[in-house]
Amino acid sequence: MRHLLSTGDLSREQAVTILDTAAAMAATQAREIKKLPTLRGRTVVNLFFEDSTRTRISFETAAKRLSADVINFSAKGSSVSKGESLKDTAQTLQAMGADAVVIRHHASGAPHRLAASRWTDGAVVNAGDGTHQHPTQALLDAYTLRRHLIGLHGGADPTGRDLDGLRVAIVGDVLHSRVARSNVQLLHTLGAQVTLVAPPTLLPVGVESWTADVSYHLDEVLAQGPDAVMMLRVQRERMGGGGFFPSPWEYTRGYGLDARRLAQLPEHTIVMHPGPMNRGLEISADAADSPRSVVVEQVANGVAVRMAVLYLVLSGQDQTAGDLVAGQIGAHA
């Protein structure tokens, strides 16, 4: 894996490899000394043109636990905010010897430009671009789904398994969501059945070509007993004059996950949210804090998945190294 730009680029085998590698990484994180020497001497740059403390910290933690040197380059307080172009910034990072560039950008496709332009030789990892993709979020969601729901009834080890047969509802602002786009592609690749639930104004024209079912009615979808319900963040700016929905209350009535809806779900169904949550809008406190909610665990899994991704792009490997699975991760030159 040279870069990670979109979950649409991943084969089933590659995706499972990432999940298995993440599982091996997570196993090492249960130890007292969490730091592995794997990426010693390699430089990972977090290039953030858009504020996201959570995602940046997650990548930073992942890189540091693999002993990589980390440079945080954020638009705030740097030359980027003074109008320096993506190209110039990339070339600066190239001069600093970045082996991997983790990029978050408000423009869809910016990571593709970086990877295709040869402005940098480094591996490019997309940490969220505009309303396009957020592949590591989808991978950590898939990892979380697999951990909770695969081998559910036998307690079997999910290693090597995909998400075949799982039914996942993704609810909310699909139109503006890179999390939704990444998940629709990845979960389909892994064999899950995705249903998108949103008011028609928050679905893109062209959604009919996606590998997902579409519904405008949350209650109908919940009545079918999905294995997981993933709530998307809805930004309050999306309403108001000529907005996407009439009022926050109407949105919550139609598409919010609250105690009543939670109670309709099968016992095994988990509730997910990429964060940060708008409590009281798309998710009520009851739902967010219920035992079904895996929101906090998603955050922890994010570090393991990002460790796996950084390891795989920087070691140039497409398969889980045997030593990794055994938990003896060595240094790769």
Partner: protein
């Protein structure tokens, strides 16, 4: 002045005849020409002779954006593309919204001497869409403006559009509309459809173009004025124009080479060289635009040559400027899309790239038939040639061709402007008296 004998060309791709050019005019055709005294022979066996091409839609960028193009560099590109006349769009800085600015552009074009430059006048002051510019003064100026357009922006206010259509009747002007409903296209980045949904780029829906065209043809019909629809790009737009023509409305429409040839699938790589307004549409739209051009619903091919400096394309998609260069590839693209596919003859190409545009622009001495006594604005094209487009090798000052690396058919071998060769053997012919 030199007397030139052009031998062996197929006139409009049909019969072979020698053509004698003298004193800026066609002096003889056929046996009389062959026998006549001449100074220079231009052998043209196997070449197609067309009337010099006329573009109604060229952004020359001067004054204001000389870092992208100048009248000098843009008109040299035009000559190489087989053009003898271009209409310079009004979105310069300062805007071409007064007699003074249009006369400046017209003079710079004359001084350069590569093609006839006819400035387009702005419809509204500063292209702001609120107050009519002095259309009458521009029409009466030395530049004799007949085409008015806020291109780049849509004359969105229906009352302003109605007044402009009505007012231009007094001097036989035409309003050329950039049809884009602004509310429906706020922060739009590409055609709205399957590809935009996947790429997460804000959509520019077909309806935003079609709604304005529908309104404008009704307005033009109501007040009995001429309307020219610029860069029509969707299947629905073709239907609306076809309907309007059937009703007898005085509307003409333009397609660009890129909308005849490229689709929104190209956006998948996020290379801003494919970012243009209106955006590249679907394959079904391309097919409908080709069909519309072939059946006469679409009257002209206009390049919408839109040069941009490198930094405006060497960036992420959302930050990039809209527009593509096109003067040096237009004829090849039309050949590939329409002639080589058997949908149009070379005579049809002459119609859509020369005769009709000149008629719409009321340019008396361009887009004339290849007949004795007519002005010698002529283009020789080698339809059998093939070439790979290289941005760096073009005469335009900008690199933003979407055809870079593509192999296209046809090559302009020679261009004659009022009898003088501006291009011979595919190269510019420098001339004395040319002023930058």
């Amino acid at each position: 002045m030199t007397t030139t004998l052009i031998t062996g060309a197929r006139l409009l791709g049909e019969d072979v005849a020698d053509v004698l050019v003298e004193d800026g005019r066609i002096a003889a055709i056929g046996a009389t020409a062959t026998a006549a005294r001449h100074d220079v022979v231009v052998p043209a066996d196997g070449l197609v002779m067309l009337p010099g091409l006329v573009d109604l839609h060229t952004h020359l960028r001067e004054p204001g954006r000389e870092d992208a193009e100048t009248i000098w560099s843009g008109t040299r590109a035009a000559a190489l593309g087989g053009f003898t006349c271009v209409h310079a769009m009004a979105n310069t800085n300062p805007v071409q919204d007064t007699a003074g600015v249009v006369e400046q552009v017209w003079r710079l074009g004359r001084d350069a001497g590569w093609v006839d430059v006819h400035p387009v006048g702005a419809v509204t002051v500063g292209l702001a869409g609120t107050q009519l510019a002095e259309l009458g003064a521009m029409a009466a100026s030395a530049a004799r403006v007949r085409i008015f357009s806020d291109d780049g922006k849509c004359v969105h206010d229906p009352v302003v559009m109605r007044r402009a259509l009505e007012y231009a009747k007094a001097f036989d002007g035409v309003i050329a509309q950039h049809s884009q409903e602004p509310g429906l296209t706020a922060s739009s980045q590409m055609h709205e459809g399957i590809v935009s949904a996947e790429l997460g780029l804000t959509g520019w829906p077909a309806v935003a173009e079609e709604a304005i065209i529908a309104r404008d043809v009704l307005l033009a019909g109501h007040v009995g004025s001429r309307l020219h629809v610029l860069h029509l790009s969707t299947a629905g737009s073709v239907d609306i124009v076809r309907w309007a023509k059937a009703r007898g409305i005085d509307v003409t429409a333009e397609a660009t080479p890129h909308h005849l040839f490229l689709t929104d699938e190209l956006v998948r790589g996020y290379d801003p060289v494919f970012k243009v307004n209106p955006p590249l549409r679907t394959a079904a739209d391309v097919e409908a635009v080709r069909a519309g051009l072939a059946d006469g619903t679409i009257d002209t091919v206009g390049t919408d040559h839109a040069p941009h400096p490198r930094e405006d394309k060497d960036c992420e998609w959302a930050a990039a400027a809209f527009g593509m260069t096109g003067l040096e590839t237009a004829l090849s693209v039309v050949q590939a899309a329409m002639v080589d596919t058997g949908r149009m003859t070379w005579a049809d190409v002459a119609r859509v790239m020369s005769f009709t545009p000149a008629a719409i622009g009321r340019v008396a001495d361009q887009g004339r038939p290849i007949e004795v006594g007519e002005p010698a604005n002529l283009t020789l094209v080698d339809p059998a040639a093939r070439r790979v487009v290289t941005a760096q090798d073009q005469a335009t000052a900008s690199l933003n061709t979407p055809f870079g690396g593509m192999e296209l058919p046809g090559r302009v071998v020679a261009t004659f402007l009022h009898g003088r060769a501006t291009v011979l053997e595919g190269r510019l012919v420098e001339h004395e008296g040319a002023r930058r």
